[in-house]
Amino acid sequence: MNGTNTLILGAVAYDPKVVTIWDGFQRHFALHHLPFDYVLFANYERQVEAHFRGHLHVAWNSPLAWIQSQRIAAALGRTVEAIAMRDSDRDLTSVILVRADSGIHEVADLQGKRIAVGAHDSPQATLIPLGRLAHLGIEPNTACEVLPFDLVPGKHGDHIGGERVAVRALLRGDAEAACILDANHLLFSQEGTLPSGATRILDRTPPYDHCNFTVLDGAPQALVAEFRRLLFAMSYADPLVRPLLDLEGLKQWLPGRTSGYAQLEAAVTRFRTIDAFVEKLVAQCR
């Protein structure tokens, strides 16, 4: 891939709009003379694998795919960098909800209770909130029962369907608590999935970061630098660019930062959910 004239980006097709988004970015980059193409994957694991096999230069990674990449790179003696992220990727939180009339008033009260979560690989609706509960003494699957809603596996929770179903399970009484992203709490409140006054927030995680553009050592530096420069030059005031930013859910691109992944890092270390994948890929890449 080195010496190539075209920057290849990988992204996961969690929704049909992903094609619209990257087609739009391709047109934008072409206008600015950056040769750019993209490859879509059905799941993040396939994307991480393709990245390490050298099939793409930049991966639009979920936070979990970032940690997978980081661990694989460390084991292989390679370096990995988060080069950019959305403004909306910074300082997210997750909330643990209970029904308003529930007798659960502190995290300790979740002992022995059933907790609805999103997809098993969702940082925001499963791994980070369950990691927090474990940290506070409620170990998943031992101190409490976990009820996962794995609607679209492999997408690392990008599809919000699982969170919506988890909330409905809570409201129906099939679970005593539910874990969702803070932004989905507002969305579900606005759309009526969470009726006003029906639930209350039992706990909220500290802030964490979400997606980033990941590059591995050996990526074509000039193309990556131009890609990054063009990202940061995208202005919300530009009517040609604005629809792309709206679709991707940001107002501006920011430099990547890696300080916001510590909670997820701790959670996957505790739950060992990515160990097998990381070990397998390391073995294959050696």
Partner: protein, 395 residues
């Protein structure tokens, strides 16, 4: 600045109060958001992240929001699509930009809105200052075919007179179908910036649809089948339906065609052998008058601004005549039916009277067409020539 939400949830409309306060705040000024809804802080923080506003907590725990740049950036380069009041100078654009799309005239249009493929974008082609009044009149004059016409009135016509009425109705349905299709086709090509013209074309199509209905219903009142449709009549109408240019189609249809047709409808009303025929002819004539008036008004305006367009209109009338010169034009059945209906019976004296009335009808149509052409600035001689070239199918 401070905004008080009380116990109102952010998702329950509290966001509107915050947005209003942010609009009123000076650049960089933090708005303190006060409230006791349980999820207020969470929702406010999430909303700020999504909207690009800055969120923070004051030392005393007060929630603070400062306006980000995104909201203003979205409306940079936005432009007004004319003005709602068409009397204001420049309110109706001389050429409506395609990027204004479906935006209401007077709305503020975000930059980057998609361009629509409207073909009729020039005010000169379509506009008439009277369009609004004609539309208002049309909207107020809508009649219900079920109640406006005395369908159950008792009458008894000789069989041949009834057949003649059926033949005339068959001809009218065909012509009104053309009168429906022509404005409908241009309606879909018209830039909606010319709102009143758009509305007028729409209500014209609806009026013509109703005419098709009542003429059909009259034809089938005493018979179970319609009359004849001729190749020549259809050829004449086809040349109208296929005319690609709005101003020329309007000239041929509204000024020359419907102008003649209007005289025919009043003739039928006057000599109708039964109250149902009389009513359908009268109601249709009242509607058609508006569209003749609109055609004349926008063409007059067009010609005032571009007198060089007049020879093109004349050419169109001549070309249509050339196209149709090898066709029979009006079918003999319709002329005979008109004569018989105007005669009212088989007595030779009645037939002669019917003949004179049809001759008078043709002369009245010619006079109407010449009058319309003169109002468009054609000299008497050319008006007479062009009127003489008009299709024998009347429309």
């Amino acid at each position: 600045m401070q905004v008080e939400l009380g116990d109102l949830g952010f998702e329950e409309g509290g966001h509107l109060l915050v947005k209003r306060a942010l609009r009123a705040a000076a650049p960089g000024e933090a708005v303190a958001v006060m409230g006791c809804a349980p999820d207020l802080a969470l929702h406010l923080e999430v909303w700020c992240r999504a909207e690009g506003h800055r969120f923070g907590c004051g030392p005393d725990g007060v929630l603070l929001v400062s306006r980000g740049a995104a909201e203003a950036a979205r409306w940079e380069g936005a432009e007004p699509a004319g003005h709602a009041d068409p009397r204001r100078p420049g309110a109706v654009a001389e050429r409506a930009p395609l990027r204004w799309g479906l935006a209401a005239r007077g709305a503020t249009v975000e930059a980057g809105s998609p361009e629509f493929d409207f073909r009729l974008t020039g005010k000169i082609e379509v506009w008439a200052d009277t369009a609004a009044a004609l539309y208002a009149q049309a909207a107020a004059a809508q009649w219900n075919p079920a109640t406006a016409i005395p369908w159950d009135a008792a009458f008894d016509l000789p069989a041949e007179v009834e057949d003649a009425v059926v033949q005339i109705m068959t001809y009218l349905v065909e012509n009104e179908t053309a009168a429906l299709m022509v404005p409908s086709r241009f309606l879909a090509q018209l830039h909606p910036h010319f709102r009143k013209v758009m509305q007028l074309l729409a209500i014209q199509a609806a009026d013509e649809a109703r005419h098709v209905e009542v003429f059909t219903r009259r034809a089938l009142l005493r018979r179970d089948r319609l009359g004849r449709s001729t190749a020549g009549g259809q050829a004449s109408l086809k040349s109208l339906v296929e005319e690609p240019e709005f101003a020329i189609a309007s000239f041929l249809l509204s000024v020359l065609g419907e102008g003649s047709f209007l005289v025919l409808l009043w003739f039928l009303e006057r000599h109708a052998p039964d109250p149902v025929t009389e009513a359908v002819a009268r109601l249709a004539a009242q509607d058609e008058a508006r569209y003749v008036a609109f055609g004349l008004a926008h063409l007059r305006r067009h010609l005032e601004q571009d007198p060089g367009f007049r020879p093109r209109l004349a050419l169109a009338a001549r070309q249509r005549h050339e196209t149709l010169r090898h066709t029979a034009g009006l079918n003999r059945e319709v002329v005979d039916a008109l004569l018989l209906v105007a005669a009212g019976g088989w007595d030779p004296g009645q037939l002669r009277l019917g003949h004179h009335r049809v001759v008078g009808l043709l002369a009245d149509m010619d006079a109407a067409r010449r009058n319309h052409l003169q109002r468009l600035g054609f000299a008497d001689e050319e008006a007479a020539e062009l009127s003489g070239l008009h299709t024998r199918n009347f429309m």
